[in-house]
Amino acid sequence: MAKEIYSQMMKELSEGKYVFTGELEPEKAGNVDAPIKAAKEMLGLVCACNVTDNPQSFAYVSSLAAAYKIQLETGMECVYQLRCSDRNRMALLSDVLGAGTLGLKSILALAGDHVALGDTPDAKPVFDLDSTTLIHMIRKIVDEGKDLGGNDIEDPPKLNVGGAAAPGAAHLGAEVGKVKRKIKVGVDYIQTQVVYYQDVLDKFFKELGPTDVPILVGIYPAKSFGSADFFDKYVAGVDVPPDYLAAMKETKAIKDKEKKREEVDRINLEFFTDFLEHLKGTPAAGCHMMAVGYPRIVGPLKKVMD
């Protein structure tokens, strides 16, 4: 468990509470009105919300600016996602110091998708650091008040740092090796990529073995067939189950908006209730609900875990 606790999420995890986190996605816009609205809907249901950083390498509002504004205006604790795809170690350091300055308490350190997968494929990919060395850098900043070059940092920021894991990765041995590496360099918590299959999750926990780092398992209740289909086709390392996808596809034919919403909710509740029931028996410390643009599902899903 983390040596120092700075964020509310880390506090609840250290108290042994089962933690729920949500996810907010800034848009390609000059404002963060939509994620602010979603954050307000999830207040009281989740203890924190991740704010995504150019997910799938689509360039959106800066996650630093968005996380700051959402946290300020709604009171929702924001987990600032920071990826290495677009910044070298200097820019990453500046942003980590910026996060502390703006009162953010938690960073999720990510390598990030390759820019070739997104809407700006001709951009120069950076990857000066990777997720492990970014976690290491944040540890040094927070714990030692030093940057990677050993330069002193005055009044270092107080941040908890998280890392990702991909239980569904094609090569589990290599993936778990990487997760162990993140644990060795001092990650405070882990949030996983989306998992759909119970056996995939079980194999991951078995291969990883015991750890005192809390792990929040990611799920993705999709708000529409389009979202689920996009996830299946374009999100690296994730396969959406064909049955779930087929059921979601059938909702496309429903013309009445209200009935369509009800059916989408029913499919998600049915599928994820089963998964969440299973989750209770795993070493997971919580659940990361990536219900982007779909906050209404968080409450009903959370009830399953009561």
Binding site: H114, A116, P125, D130, T133, H171, A174, A236, G237
Partner: protein
């Protein structure tokens, strides 16, 4: 070709240079490629002068290219542009040589889009080293993640490994970090896999990089080495020959 014709628009007399190094090896600047390029340009109404350099005579070495440019000095002096079938090194060495040594300013255009240093063969060649100046191979089971990993991660794999251990950005390519894992497993060194590799020191790659050879190889030395192999065909057969089978020594 469209791009090349764009460069050459309004220019009549063209010198086409084919490099005798990599571009000859990969047939993107050999004698045949130069002839084909010349034909295409002639059909577009250009007057073409061909300079084909034989294998072993690289356009990127001033001493070698100078022989060929000086031999056709008149054509070079009177041309409207030089089109170079080589990597960017050849293009720029020719630019520098014509500018500074021959004292003539000409447009020098690339005909090729060079893809980088490659190895392997005989058919499939791949980039495995980017000459970064700070070799990491000793830490990564002899596979360079900076080059072989699509993201150049020093600590992988990323979360996007595809079915069949393929790369997130190209399902035709293997994930370098799964390969590193498998090699470490075979070497019995998996404990090292969970150790963090420090961030790569890019400070060794301040561009442009300059090198000074204390004892440069002279043309005479090089010709001597070639003579020892008798002929180019002898040289080639040595390159592609299978190593002689080793006979087991009988122990007495």
């Amino acid at each position: 070709m469209e791009e090349i014709l764009g460069y050459l628009e309004g220019k009549k007399n063209i010198v086409v240079v084919g490099c005798g190094g990599c571009a000859t090896f990969y047939h993107t600047g050999d004698k045949k490629a130069v002839a084909e390029m010349a034909d295409k340009l002639t059909k577009e109404g250009k007057d073409v002068t061909k300079i084909s350099m034989p294998l072993g005579m690289q356009a990127c070495e001033t001493e070698k290219i100078s022989i060929f440019l000086q031999k056709k000095k008149d054509k070079v002096e009177n041309c409207d542009a030089i089109l170079v079938m080589s990597c960017g090194d050849g293009v720029q060495v020719i630019t520098e040589y014509t500018d500074e040594e021959m004292g003539i300013a000409k447009n020098v255009y690339p005909a090729n889009d060079a893809l980088g240093l490659v190895g392997g063969g005989p058919n499939q060649l791949k980039e495995t080293c980017q000459s970064c100046g700070m070799c990491e191979l000793g830490k990564t089971a002899g596979i360079c993640p900076l080059t072989a990993c699509g993201k150049g991660l020093m600590n992988g794999p990323c979360g996007g490994v595809r079915e069949g251990d393929k790369c997130e950005i190209d399902e035709e390519k293997d994930c370098a970090w799964v390969k590193i894992y498998k090699r470490m497993e075979r070497l019995g060194e998996l404990d090292d896999f969970v150790e963090m590799n420090d961030p790569h020191e890019w400070g060794k790659m301040k561009r442009p990089r300059l090198f000074e050879l204390k004892e440069p190889m002279s043309m005479m030395d090089m010709m001597g080495s070639m003579m020892n192999l008798n002929t180019i065909s002898g040289y080639m057969s040595m390159m592609f020959a299978k190593p002689p089978e080793q006979k087991e020594e009988k122990k007495e």
